[in-house]
């Protein structure tokens, strides 16, 4: 018997699903991808392009994972309903490397839609400044505004460039900053605050993870997709279909199936059906993959212990402001790191209701073809534990408190914000957990140690791969897409050797 399936459409209530989302599924594929975050999508596309038969299952009704958006109706007026609102969850932004990644693993059109953000601003009690977020501009600021010697700044960038991923990750970000800019909390804030919002990094995380991500951004600044997240995901979907990927949404995978004695993957259980595959790539959280989808009983005791020690990364809250169509927004900036905390501490970014948030401003230029919409999305780092235990009235009250607190913060930069805002809505770590199925609603995967667990899965169970947000570096737009391609290459190698083994009876099967 199939269990009843529901839309995971709204935390206000789940609507029953009409029809069977996996009615057209076949009994066997070369590859099954579990989840359609950017890592899962990219892995599916690369493997399908290489000639493999790929099926992708997504539990939500949209593809994209946290590369997503939602719409809300406009207010009703005397002349009918006003123009609706559209909110991008994570569009701003990513490093320029995404252009090359999209050109190689997607299409020239997708790569061509990537544009640099025009404005990045910091506003806090220590400094208030505009930057294009490049090495040249940061060097200028550190010398002219922060009064550092240029040799000291060059020394810092040289250290970042020389750091090697294969060195033992002993030094923390805090160590790195104290070594180069001792006692300069304002400098530490300039260097880390934006990255903390981008990937949940804190001062205690390994310096190498920071060096990789920060250096990527410093190359040419912060970029975004013109056309919006909806256009991007539609374009990716079309490309996947063109390469023959079979896409199933509203289709949560219940189990990843394992042949116990060998051990290797045999497929997945989805919608009560067994779908066989030689390779399964999980784009779910790495802990969910091991503990829930596969089951710890299929792994070595040491590996289970290592997995249990992996820390989930920070979660997020977001506050969405849809502006009245009649008023829109004046130019403020694209990305504003806003804080009233007198000094910087990365852990304090997660406090409720907190002193710090980043505002992403969305102007009509994001979607030149669409109606002229203006929206502001505030993102805050958060703790799941602060939200999880609340009953519904307390939860709603706390969301209202966060909305008010964030609107007050916005008023410092847009004094008539209250009159311009038509729609306000709050997402919490509970919201993210609901829509993505991530444990603790984490928005940034795992801390550094999750990467090793993710990469070692195929040693434990042949044919089992993970291509989700892990280790801080394999996270965010660029990290996720590149990790999808890296894992696709490994899966492709395995599939290729299976074909060779089948053609040559003297070769031992790699499985």
């Amino acid at each position: 018997m199939r269990s009843p399936k529901y839309y995971r459409g709204s935390s206000d209530g789940r609507r029953p699903l009409a029809g069977d989302p996996v009615a057209k599924v076949q009994s066997h594929y070369d590859v099954v991808v579990v989840g359609s975050g950017l890592g899962g999508l990219t892995a599916a596309n690369v493997l399908a392009r290489n000639g493999h038969r790929v099926a992708l299952f997504e539990q939500h009704y949209n593809l994209g994972g946290l590369a997503t958006w939602f719409k809300r109706p406009g207010e009703r007026t005397e002349t009918g309903r006003g123009q609706g609102h559209l909110f991008d969850i994570s569009l701003h932004g990513f490093p320029v490397g995404m252009k090359k990644t999209c050109r190689k693993y997607w299409t020239p059109e997708i790569a061509g839609a990537i544009h640099r953000l025009e404005g990045v601003r910091f506003s806090n009690p220590q400094f208030d400044l505009e930057t294009d977020f490049t090495r040249a501009d940061f060097t200028r600021l550190l010398v002219e505004h922060f009064g550092l010697e240029s040799a000291r700044v060059t020394g810092f960038y040289d250290t970042l460039a020389q750091m090697d991923f294969f060195d033992p990750p002993n030094a923390t970000i805090g160590d790195l900053f104290e070594e180069h800019f001792p006692g300069r909390n304002d400098v530490h804030r300039l260097l880390l605050e934006a990255i903390s919002y981008a990937n949940g990094s804190s001062l205690g995380d390994p310096a190498i993870a920071y060096a990789i991500v920060f250096t990527n951004f410093m190359s040419q600044g912060i970029f975004t997709f013109r056309g919006g997240t909806d256009w991007l995901v539609r374009s990716m979907r079309a490309e996947l279909l063109r390469h023959g990927v079979e896409l199933f949404h509203d289709a949560p995978v219940e189990r990843i199936l394992v042949h116990t004695r060998e051990p290797r993957v045999t497929g997945v259980l989805v919608g009560g059906r067994e779908v066989r595959a030689n390779v399964v790539i999980s784009n779910a959280n790495v802990l969910s993959t091991v503990q829930r989808l596969v089951g710890e009983e299929h792994f070595d005791v040491d590996f289970v212990r290592q997995t249990r020690a992996v820390r989930l990364n920070t979660a997020s809250c977001q506050v969405y402001f849809g502006m009245r169509a009649s008023q829109g927004l004046p130019w403020i900036t694209d990305l504003l790191m806003d804080s009233t905390a007198p000094t910087f501490a990365s852990e304090a970014l997660r406090e409720f209701p907190g002193h710090s948030r980043t505002f992403s401003f969305y102007y009509p230029s994001v979607r030149p073809e669409g109606p002229a919409r203006h929206a502001i999305v505030a993102s805050l780092n958060a703790r799941y534990e602060d939200w999880a235990p609340l009953d519904q009235p307390s939860y709603e009250a706390k969301k209202a408190q966060l909305a008010e607190h964030t609107l007050a913060a916005l008023e410092r930069h847009l004094p008539d914000a209250r009159a311009r805002v038509e729609h306000v809505e709050v997402a919490t770590p509970r919201t993210f957990a609901f829509y993505t199925g991530h444990p603790s609603g984490t928005s940034f995967g795992t801390k550094f140690e999750g990467l090793d667990v993710s990469q070692r899965l195929p040693e434990q169970i042949a044919g089992l791969f993970h291509a989700g947000s892990v280790g801080i570096i394999m996270s965010g737009w660029l990290g996720a897409a590149n990790y999808g391609a890296i894992v696709a290459n490994r899966a492709d190698a395995l599939l290729h050797s299976l074909v060779q083994a089948a053609e040559d009876p003297h070769l031992k099967s790699p499985l």
């Binding site: 290489n50 000639g51 190689k104 391609a485 492709d492 190698a493 290729h496 050797s497 060779q500």
Partner: protein, 91 residues
């Protein structure tokens, strides 16, 4: 494939991955990434293309052998001896 043909095959693959680079004057003894903009993701793509076009498997531990054109010829010579050159751009 001869050693010269292997170099042609590699350059043809690179021309797909990095279409803006001039590959006319590459020194076979100098690291590719010191002459043109190639990162570790690009080397992964080279390996994936070699597998697709010529069926050759390069384990991750051996990626470093492909650092120069000469290194490519040394490493791939035995693997590709009985393979015909065909260009990725026409594949």
């Amino acid at each position: 494939m001869t050693r010269d043909e292997i170099a042609i095959a590699i350059k043809d693959i690179i021309s797909q991955i990095a279409p803006d680079e001039d590959l006319g004057n590459l020194d076979p003894k100098v690291r590719l990434r010191d002459q043109i903009e190639l990162d570790s993701m690009d080397f992964l793509d080279i390996v994936m293309e070699l597998r697709k076009l010529y069926g050759v498997q390069v384990p991750e531990a051996d990626y470093k052998e492909l650092a120069t054109l000469e290194g490519c010829a040394n490493y791939l010579e035995a693997h590709l001896a009985d393979k015909e050159l065909h260009c990725a751009s026409n594949a």
